[in-house]
């Protein structure tokens, strides 16, 4: 979390204790680590291209359902891996531990966040699946348009989804970059030389996403999860053994470091328990992030690609395994403290905490495996996110506003091209911004995407809310959230310095996404009453109540006619 990383940058510069661990970046290239990483990367690339032929139905080869939703054919196992690949990204492996490294307990909100996601999924995603399958919707904005009879509301949801996804993809690149830096490639030389490995990795990713669509990340997710579970289990058992005193010492060392006042500001960076006044930020970060997650197009795509209404529900218990893993990965941040890494020894980049810890603790060959896990763990979601953003663009901007007569083949081609553009847009993000900002923009993504919650989730249950009221509420939430986020200053940044801000008229801080959602809801309720009172035209609802309970029947065509 950027707020905390910024704090860590300051603490680190001054807390120059005995550096037991070698400062990773800037040293010579570690050939073994690079070799292992290259091996896995090539293997995964081959798998990615091969995926084009995997589970191909042969019926509608050119339809967007095939490329963009994997033929909507994914059962339980694939879904478990695909959703895991979706949800547990470089944010989990790099950003969350870095945040614990920098600020302690407050950053542990990622655990309640990933706990609360699953009850929310249980409640509303089966309804979204049913109505989308019944009517052949490829994106959530397709649903919005048909449900509320409003192209502008659908456009709002689509644009929000695309904008919020880009920095999230950028964050995946930051994760890969952190590994490459620690291996020793990058970090020196010209910009071009420094970023060349990242550039190659991304070009290959772009190529197999283009050819194989959603099948590529779904297949690669198997490799990714195997590597990650292996790495995490080894890390959780082996690293505490390398640190004298084990877990007791890890938490003690973290507490000592975090509570030491920063000589510059006189304030400690944090604590291993929540400080007074941090309960509300902790709760709102958890609930806000949980509600935001399944508003992201890449998370919904994993659900829409399943072949039965209850594939996801049946998987819920097993999916919580990812939450457990996330909690354990987060604690790697404290292990990095106990191993005497400081922000200064990490090249002033707390994002290096986990890769540097692996580099220090593991023999080179296993560090290479661990970096492969992190890097492939970043590539899979980056692919899914770019596909999701491309689907949104094609369906809800290209077809709705530019070429309504586009054939399914043309839609697939446009999606393929846009998936490339989105990725290179994200690459520009990474090259243009520093790592801290990228994470901060990702949190801003959460602020933005959460504003589509009323239109999508309320829309699944009721048409009580008028389309224009939903649009006005969305606009108010976006404007409020974006402005407040823009105004947040930190020691290192003039804007977007924190995603936790004061609630107006109080002294209490909260995650901006939640405050903005309250603004959104107030505007929604008030304008809705007015619009209903004046009998503003409500638009045509193309869905029927029973569509929301729709269960796939045998032999039903996967690609229902596109609703115009």
């Amino acid at each position: 979390m950027a707020i905390y990383s910024a704090a860590a940058a300051i603490t680190g510069r001054h807390a120059s204790g005995a550096v037991l661990a070698a400062a990773a970046p800037g040293k010579a290239v570690n050939g073994t680590e690079l070799g292992v990483l290259t091996f896995f990367f090539v293997a995964v690339a081959i798998l990615g291209f091969f995926a084009a032929r995997w589970r191909r139905s042969g019926v509608d080869r050119k339809h967007l359902h095939e490329w963009g939703l994997g033929g909507r054919s994914f059962g339980g196992w694939v879904t478990w891996f695909l959703l895991g690949g979706d949800l547990y990204t470089a944010y989990t492996f790099v950003a969350v531990p870095a945040a614990l490294f920098g600020a302690g307990a407050l950053s542990f909100f990622a655990v309640p966040y990933t706990i609360l996601v699953w009850p929310l999924v249980f409640i509303f995603l089966p309804r979204l699946w049913s109505v989308s399958r019944k009517h052949g919707y490829v994106t959530p904005a397709d649903f919005i348009k048909a449900r509320h009879g409003s192209s502008s509301l659908s456009l709002a949801v689509a644009v929000t989804g695309i904008v919020a996804t880009m920095p999230y993809i950028a964050l995946q690149l930051v994760g890969i970059q952190a590994c490459l830096d620690v291996i020793g490639i990058g970090g020196s030389g010209s910009t071009f030389e420094k970023d060349l490995p990242l550039f190659i990795a991304f070009a290959v990713l772009a190529a197999y996403t283009y050819t194989s669509g959603l099948r590529a990340p779904a297949l690669i997710a198997f490799v990714k999860d195997t590597l990650i579970y292996l790495t995490i289990i080894v890390a959780i058992i082996y690293i505490p053994m390398r640190i004298p005193g084990g877990w007791n010492h890890i938490f003690d060392a973290a507490q000592t470091r975090l509570t030491t006042p920063n000589p510059k500001t006189g304030k400690p960076a944090g604590s291993i328990l929540l400080a007074k006044g941090n309960s509300i930020p902790y709760a709102t970060l958890a609930v806000g992030s949980a509600k935001a997650l399944f508003m992201y197009p890449h998370a919904q795509i994993g659900v829409l690609a399943t072949k039965s209404r209850n594939t996801v529900r049946r998987n819920l218990a097993a999916l919580t395994a990812y939450s457990l893993m996330l909690g354990l990965i987060a604690l790697l941040g404290y292990m990095a403290i106990a191993a005497h890494f400081t922000t200064a020894s990490l090249n002033n980049n707390a994002q290096h905490a986990v890769p540097a810890l692996f580099d220090w603790a593991f023999p080179s060959w296993f560090a290479g495996v661990a970096f492969s896990a992190v890097a492939i763990g970043a590539l899979v979601p980056a692919a899914i996110m770019s596909i999701a953003a491309a689907n949104l663009f094609t369906r809800n901007i290209w077809v709705d506003f530019i070429r309504p007569q586009a054939s399914p083949q043309e839609q697939t081609q446009v999606s393929q091209l846009v998936s490339l553009l989105v990725k290179f847009g994200a690459l520009a993000f990474v090259l243009g911004l520093d790592a801290t900002s990228a994470i901060n923009f990702q949190l801003l993504g959460g602020v933005l995407i959460l504003q589509t919650f009323p239109a999508i989730v309320f829309g699944l249950y009721t048409r009580y809310f008028h389309r224009w009221a939903l649009l006005l509420g969305w606009a108010s939430g976006i404007v409020y959230g974006a402005l407040v986020a823009w105004w947040q200053r930190s020691a290192t940044q003039h804007h977007f310095g924190s995603q936790v801000a004061q609630i107006p008229w109080t002294h209490q801080k909260a995650y901006i996404a939640c405050t903005a959602l309250v603004v959104n809801l107030v505007v929604l309720v008030v304008t809705n009453l007015v619009l209903r009172a004046v009998h503003a035209p409500a638009g045509v609802d193309q869905t029927a109540p029973e569509d929301y309970e729709h269960v796939e029947s045998q032999g039903e065509p996967v690609a229902a006619p596109v609703v115009a």
């Binding site: 196992w77 706990i115 291993i272 929540l274 218990a317 097993a318 919580t320 989730v457 269960v551």
Partner: protein, 124 residues
């Protein structure tokens, strides 16, 4: 602000075929409790913002929240089963026919005793 806890209720209202049964059946109440419980537990922060008792060197704050991951897994299994049986009862049918050939997935992997999660029948 709509909290997650009022949504199971709204699902009940719209999940139509009421028939002779009341909208809020005991099984649905069980599912609602399972869904709401994690929110209550995780948002009641003062209940776990403390160091002791420690477990294997982990302060209470950390191991308690990780424990809730496992508890949530179990609650989700119960909720899915409750809704499934409730719907079966409502229609007087055994269950929906699921897509044959659906491998069922790793549904039971998160918790022992999650009987039926991988049965290949659709839970509604």
């Amino acid at each position: 602000m709509s909290t997650a806890s009022d949504r199971p209720g709204s699902e009940n209202r719209t999940q139509a075929p009421t028939g002779s049964r009341p909208i809020l059946s005991p099984l649905r109440a069980v599912a609602a409790v399972c869904v709401i419980a994690p929110f209550v537990a995780m948002l009641w922060i003062p209940s776990y913002n403390k160091t002791n008792p420690k477990l294997l060197g982990f302060p209470f704050f950390y191991w308690y929240q990780l424990l809730w991951v496992v508890i949530t897994a179990a609650l989700m299994v119960i909720a899915v089963q409750a809704v499934k049986h409730d719907n079966a009862g409502r229609r007087g049918l055994g269950s929906d026919s699921g897509s044959p050939g659906d491998p069922g997935g790793p549904g039971g992997a998160g918790s022992a005793g999650s009987a039926g999660t991988g049965s290949g029948t659709d839970v509604r």
